[in-house]
Each structure stands twice: as structure tokens, then as C-alpha cells.
């Protein structure tokens, strides 16, 4: 009788099992194929279950931080939830950087942490920490499960929270005694309908969408400014974006996180915007009369000086997170909703306009944009003796352009150059730490992507300093025979730190030179991978070919590049979009003039 009632209400069949079994069962029921983790005392019961099954495969990293970044790379390159399993105490605290990274970039991650048994919580037990307290500000939500009968429900809810709305990381902290205890398992119910308080709004308000489309129809200097939200919304959103952009004939630029949502090879594409964005993108943002932000958040690296940001434009902002709207920049038409839903409605409204707008009205705008493009802002001084970092990436792009490629990066100059010189035509192909700027992200992220796409080419464009932050994951790549290519632009400096010291601190290179870099070739070999070095532009093509030919094991490619190259264009501190420093010809005097006293004190 009771059972029939439960079934009728949509309640799932119940089964009895231990907490540790439940963890694996939830992962299987959620369709999880891979878990990135590292064992320890407080998760041993779960590892024991992993040992006894084959549905969920475990990838053993070498440090918990690597596990979270690997899960991020997996999630970002597949659109699925990345799953992490770590132990209590140091296992959990090591995961904090990755969790914060995932929060800033809206990456869906479920991180399971072991905890000391409930009766020891608060006793300063061995490997105890207040995981929930520590991870509260760096997760979308977190749970401490004290009763095994809550475990399955909470875990299913964790997946729902991680992936719905604006995605993000969640932590479920599971004490060891709960893993041993026996309780009732529930299968995933329809959490989306059932969740009592978290039901994000997907569809945008129709009148606002109509208003936006009318502004678009009358705009003379419009621009689309898109971000990671389009990619998070799924491949359909990218498809719809392309449709809308082509139908309108508007130019489009994107943030670092949004690269690939719109094809870089298209003629309406202006390149990335922001601090190291292209001249044409930033000038167009500054001078436009209508700005349509789709899934981006007016981050400070994008806006520059907020009071001089796109001063003459009306602004439309589409975001699934209401707190992103009117946070940094006041907008005229705020639309809360999922990018794919809103784009679909926008296309419909655009088609339904009483009179279809003349594309010729944009002629003057495109002419202006072409003049900006003619500045050729990414040009650099070529050299026949040393490899310029830009040249290295141009050659890399030439060799990978027709291949099925995923690119990850670390953080710094190489990351910005990669964003400028590598071309992304599809979403989910570009894995980078945007919001938090985590050095050491790239190698584990590449591992996660390679696990998900074993036949694809996965390259971590790295710097010599960043790569050392998670170099231990080479060992992981070797263990799983992952042919990840680590392409290090080695200038022996923390390049971006050095560049800022040059521009802002009178050339005083305080602690930004790495005096004792390892021999990267030997290092690769020591791990059981392949090491290569190239230090002359004439040898570069052959070397890249050789790197791409390596199968079944990781490669470290030590590309020795010009030591003191700077990343341009650059919007200096405290300046507006139309006050960019352009590349090669900038003199020290100009730099000094461009960056005021105010700018120098800023981060």
C-alpha cells in the first residue's frame, strides 16, 4: 500500500546499501564515466567500492588540485559535470583553488570529500578540517551529510545544482562512518521540478526581448559582445548565436571565456576584446551605439575604466544569473534567462519585425571597422634568429588548423597570445582559467580533456613558470598513456609579471626571473614522456610536426622564445578602450605617458 503510494507520487524504488555503495551508484545513475581523485583515510570505503566495479573509472592524479582542474577540463570540453573525489583535511584544502577557479568560470564540478567520522567532527581529529566552512565561499553550494539516508538524495541534488542555472562547483562532505553505514538508496527523481528553492529562470521576458530586437533593428553601430555563458548553455546556443549574428549582419566580439562560440574564421568576427583584445574589437565596443551582451559579465578585464566604457551605447544584457546584471555596468535592457532560450526567442522576434532592417544601414559601421582592422594590431617584429612567441603560436596554428583539437592554457602572456593567435571555430575547444587566473590549470585541464576525447589532439599552451605549478600531473598523463602536448613558450621569466614590472615598476624585475629552471627535456624523460627543445625559428616547423606525431605519451616541447617580448595590444591601467597601447613600436616614453601615476598603483 505504502509502496504503491510512493510509486504513484513519482518516488523512486528504494534499495538498501552502504553509503560508499551509494556514492558509486549515484555516479553510475548520473551517467558519470570518470572520476578524478586521490585516495586517503577518510574515503577508503568509497575507494574500496571503486575497486569492485567497472562502470565508473577513476583517474588517479598526483595532487588534489590537479584533480579539480582535470575535472574542469573534462567538463569544459564535454559539457558534462566533472567529478572529483578527495580525502578529508589536506585533500579538501588542496581542492580549494580548483573549486574557486570553477566558481569564477562557472564550470559544473561535483567534488566529493571524505570527512572524519561524525563523532570526531570538531575534535581536531587527524586530517580533519572544516571542509564545509572552508569551501562555502568557493562553491555554488555545499553539504555535510550526517545521515546515510540523506546521502543519495543530497548527491543527486548536488548534480542538479552543479549543472543547472549558472553552473558551478559543489562539495558534498561525507564522514567516514556515513560511508560505512547502511541506508536507503533513491534513484534520481526529477529534481528540477522537485527542488524546493533553486529553480533558475530559463526563458527571458518576451517584452524585453522584443525591446532588444527593436533596438537592434534601429541600431547603426551595433556589436555583439558574448561570453562563456553561451558555451555553458550548450552547443545549441552557439548554433543560435551564429544564426542571429549572420541574420543581423552585426560585428561580434567575445571574452576570453567565450572563444569558439562564434567561429574565428568568420568575417563578422572581430577577435577577443578587453585588456589584451584586438584594436578593432575594443574600438568598436567604445564607439558602438548598441551593445548586446550575451552571457558575459562586464568583468574588469573587459571594461577597462567603467566610467568611460562604451559611453554612447544602449546596452542589452542577457544572463541567467540576475546578480550579473547591473553589477558593474548599468544596462538598458536586462534579460534574465538561458542564452539558448533567449537567442531562440530573439531570432523569432527578429524575423517577425514589421519591416526587415536593411543591412546596408551598417555599411558605414563596417567601413569604420575595416579601418580599425587595417591597423593590424597583432603585428610584431619578426626575427630570423630567435623564435618570437607570437610566431611560435602562428606556426602551431598552421599545423593544427585542420585537426580535431582542444587547447588548454596556463595563465600569463602565453595565455593571451594563445587567445590572440589560435583560432577557435567551435565551442568547448578552449580551456583556460579566466576569472581566477590560476597558473597550473593547463596541464591537468588538458589531461581531463584528453581523457574525454582520447582520439583528439590536446595541447596545453604553457609558460615556463606556470607549468611548474602542476608539473606532477605529467606522471598522471604517463600512467594513462595520454598524448597531451605541452607547448611551453619558455622565456625564463614570469612573462606577464615581468611585462607589468617593465611597464609599471621602472624595469625592476623583482623575483620574476626563474634562475634555475629544470631541463624540460630531461624532466619529460624522467616522467616517462617525450622531451623536445627548439630554439631557432628555422627548426620550428619540423619540431612541431615531430611533437604532433608523438602517440601514447605526453610531450613537453620546450620552445625557447624571445625573453623580453611583450603582449600587445594592451589597455593600460585606468584607461578606456580607445586608449590602447599597440604593439611593436611603443616606446618607453609613450608607455610612461600612457600609464598615469594612478595606474601604477593598481594591480
Amino acid at each position: 500500500m505504502q509502496c504503491a503510494f510512493l510509486l504513484k507520487k513519482g518516488y523512486p524504488m528504494a534499495r538498501t546499501m552502504t553509503g560508499a555503495e551509494m556514492v558509486i551508484k549515484v555516479l553510475a545513475d548520473q551517467g558519470v564515466e570518470f572520476v578524478f581523485g586521490y585516495p586517503g583515510g577518510a574515503v577508503l570505503p568509497i575507494y574500496d567500492e571503486i575497486f569492485q566495479q567497472e562502470k565508473v573509472k577513476h583517474v588517479l592524479v598526483r595532487q588534489e588540485g590537479g584533480a579539480v582542474h582535470a575535472a574542469e577540463g573534462y567538463a569544459r570540453s564535454t559539457g558534462k559535470v566533472g567529478v572529483v573525489l578527495v580525502t578529508s583535511g589536506p585533500g579538501a584544502t588542496n581542492a580549494v583553488t580548483g573549486l574557486t577557479d570553477a566558481l569564477m568560470d562557472s564550470i559544473p564540478v561535483v567534488c566529493l570529500t571524505g570527512q572524519v567520522p561524525t563523532h570526531l567532527i570538531g575534535n581536531d581529529a587527524f586530517q580533519e578540517c572544516d571542509t564545509i566552512g572552508i569551501t562555502r565561499p568557493c562553491t555554488k553550494h555545499n553539504w555535510l551529510v550526517k545521515d546515510v539516508n540523506d546521502l543519495a538524495r543530497v548527491l543527486h541534488e548536488a548534480f542538479y545544482i552543479a549543472k543547472s542555472g549558472r553552473p558551478g562547483p559543489v562539495v558534498v562532505d561525507i564522514p567516514k562512518d556515513v560511508q560505512f553505514a547502511t541506508g536507503t538508496y533513491v534513484t534520481p527523481s526529477n529534481t528540477a521540478i522537485a527542488h524546493k528553492s533553486y529553480r533558475p529562470k530559463l526563458k527571458g521576458d518576451q517584452p524585453l526581448i522584443q525591446r532588444a530586437v527593436e533596438l537592434m533593428a534601429s541600431a547603426r553601430k551595433p556589436i555583439f559582445y558574448t561570453g562563456g555563458g553561451v558555451i555553458n548553455s550548450g552547443p545549441k546556443a552557439s548554433q543560435l548565436l551564429r544564426e542571429l549574428v549572420r541574420q543581423t549582419g552585426f560585428p561580434i566580439t567575445s571574452t576570453l571565456m567565450g572563444l569558439g562560440a562564434y567561429p574565428a574564421s568568420d568575417k563578422q568576427w572581430l577577435g577577443m576584446l578587453g585588456m589584451h583584445g584586438t584594436y578593432e574589437a575594443n574600438m568598436a565596443m567604445h564607439d558602438c551605439d548598441l551593445l548586446i551582451n550575451i552571457g558575459a559579465r562586464f568583468d574588469d578585464r573587459i571594461t577597462g575604466r567603467t566610467d568611460a566604457f562604451s559611453p554612447g551605447s544602449r546596452k542589452v544584457h542577457i544572463d541567467i544569473d540576475p546578480s550579473s546584471i547591473n553589477k558593474n555596468i548599468k544596462v538598458d535592457v536586462p534579460i534574465v534567462g538561458d542564452c539558448a532560450y533567449v537567442l531562440e526567442d530573439m531570432i523569432r522576434a527578429w524575423r517577425g519585425l514589421a519591416s526587415s532592417p536593411e543591412k546596408s544601414a551598417l555599411k558605414g559601421w563596417w567601413k569604420q571597422i575595416d579601418q580599425w582592422r587595417a591597423v593590424n594590431c597583432l603585428k610584431y617584429k619578426a626575427s630570423s634568429d630567435v623564435i618570437m612567441p607570437q610566431y611560435a603560436l602562428e606556426r602551431l596554428q598552421a599545423h593544427i588548423k585542420d585537426r580535431d583539437t582542444y587547447i588548454s592554457t596556463e595563465v600569463g602572456q602565453h595565455q593571451m597570445w594563445a587567445a590572440q593567435f589560435l583560432k577557435f571555430d567551435e565551442p568547448n575547444r578552449w580551456l583556460t582559467s579566466g576569472g581566477l587566473g590560476t597558473m597550473g590549470y593547463g596541464l591537468p585541464a588538458a589531461i581531463g580533456a584528453q581523457i574525454a576525447h582520447p582520439k583528439s589532439l590536446v595541447i596545453d599552451v604553457a609558460g615556463d613558470a606556470s607549468i611548474l605549478m602542476n608539473i606532477q600531473e605529467m606522471s598522471t598523463a604517463v600512467q594513462y598513456r595520454l598524448p597531451v602536448k605541452i607547448f611551453i613558450l619558455n622565456n625564463q621569466y614570469m612573462g606577464m609579471v615581468r611585462q607589468w614590472q617593465q611597464l609599471l615598476h621602472g624595469n625592476r624585475y623583482s623575483e620574476s626571473y626563474t634562475e634555475a629552471l629544470p631541463d624540460f627535456v630531461k624532466l619529460a624523460e624522467a616522467y616517462g614522456g617525450v622531451g623536445m627543445r627548439c630554439d631557432h625559428p628555422a627548426d620550428l616547423d619540423d619540431a612541431i610536426k615531430a611533437m604532433l606525431a608523438v602517440k601514447d605519451k605526453p610531450v613537453i616541447f620546450d620552445c625557447r622564445v624571445a625573453a623580453l617580448a611583450n603582449c600587445f595590444p594592451m589597455i593600460p591601467s585606468g584607461k578606456a578602450h580607445n586608449q590602447m597601447l599597440l604593439g611593436e613600436d611603443v616606446s618607453a616614453e609613450e608607455i610612461d605617458k600612457a600609464i598615469g601615476k594612478e595606474g601604477k598603483v593598481l594591480v
Binding site: 566552512g133 524546493k196 528553492s197 575604466r305 567603467t306 546578480s323 585606468g574 594612478e598 593598481l602
Partner: protein, 182 residues
């Protein structure tokens, strides 16, 4: 263009908008850690808390109601509301101040010690303020007073001259006027 206060790529520009004082009602699941979530959101994002009270108000659905008094520019107040609203256990966030002057009440316990004239004066004033005596000896009173914060502050100020020993205040409980609930 002056060099100062022009804002930058890294800091939000200094906004000149005047700050306002608003009272929020927040309905949340009464689960462990929810107070820490709300409080750390305010501290983490640099918002002010002037007063914060919380208690379970719906036993059946296990909901608690927070009353938070905060100050900020209109843009910041909107942010506070949106940031609170996206916390998972939060059911609703209502800015009571935008929908008219809400009813705001506070309770305080005020301990006053003294003898002779001052003692009599304290009791006389307490009557004027409709404070009730909840504990007493020949040398002290503990008054219980409820009302608007301003009334309580006034009472405390007066008692300072009459042998004030200590004060404990609940912070504000608030609700909107009219027949509608949250």
C-alpha cells in the same frame, strides 16, 4: 579630467550615489550553516550589516526568516538582493523598504543599578517608555522594552545617567504593512 577618482580597470569607480538604509526579509531553509552562508556573503562582498535577526517561523516547512538591515547605494542594494537570491537554500528575498515603510520593532533588556532618587527616576521613566520590570532587587532593575530602534536608543541614553549596567538587544524584526504576506 582630474587624475583622482577617475576609476580604473581594476576597481569599481567611486560611485557618488547616496546610500540608503533598507530592510530585507529573507526566507530560507532552516538547515545547518545557513546563517554562516548569509553572513559570509555580506562580509565576503563587503556589504554592511546594521542588524541581523533570524528565527524559525514555519515549523512545518522548516523555514527560517532573516531580517537584515543594511545600507548601500541603490545599485549595491539590488546586488545584495540578487546575491542573496541565488543562494541555494534561499526561497525569497524581499526588500521591505521599497514597498513602503515596513513595521520594524526591537526588544531590549536594560539593566540599571542604583539607589535612592536615581532608582525612582529610572522606574518612573520606564513607565513613560512602557518598559516593564522583569527582574529586580533593592539595588537594580532589569527592564524589558520593545519598540522602534530609535525609542530604545533614547531609553538607553536616558538610563546611562541613572546607573546603566548593561544592555542586550535583539535586533530588528520587521514585516510589511497591509494584508499581504511574503
Amino acid at each position: 579630467m582630474s587624475e583622482k577618482g577617475t576609476g580604473s580597470a581594476y576597481f569599481l569607480e567611486e560611485r557618488k550615489d547616496a546610500t540608503e538604509r533598507h530592510t530585507f526579509s529573507i526566507l530560507v531553509d532552516n538547515e545547518p550553516g545557513v546563517l554562516a552562508r548569509i553572513a559570509s556573503l555580506f562580509s565576503g562582498r563587503g556589504y554592511n550589516i546594521e542588524s541581523l535577526t533570524v528565527s524559525e517561523t514555519d515549523e512545518e516547512r522548516r523555514l527560517s526568516r532573516f531580517t537584515v538591515v543594511t545600507t548601500g547605494t541603490p545599485m549595491v542594494l539590488q546586488q545584495i538582493r540578487n546575491q542573496l537570491d541565488r543562494l541555494v537554500p534561499v526561497h525569497s528575498v524581499t526588500d521591505l523598504t521599497t514597498s513602503g515603510q515596513p513595521i520594524e520593532r526591537e526588544l531590549a533588556l536594560v539593566k540599571v543599578a542604583g539607589k535612592g532618587e536615581k532608582r525612582i527616576e529610572a522606574l518612573r521613566l520606564a513607565e513613560i517608555f512602557r518598559a516593564s520590570v522583569v527582574d529586580t532587587s533593592t539595588e537594580h532593575f532589569v527592564f524589558e522594552i520593545t519598540g522602534k530602534s530609535s525609542k530604545i536608543e533614547q531609553f538607553i541614553a536616558i538610563m546611562r545617567e541613572l546607573g546603566l549596567v548593561e544592555v542586550s538587544r535583539t535586533g530588528i524584526a520587521a514585516m510589511a504593512r497591509g494584508s499581504q504576506g511574503l
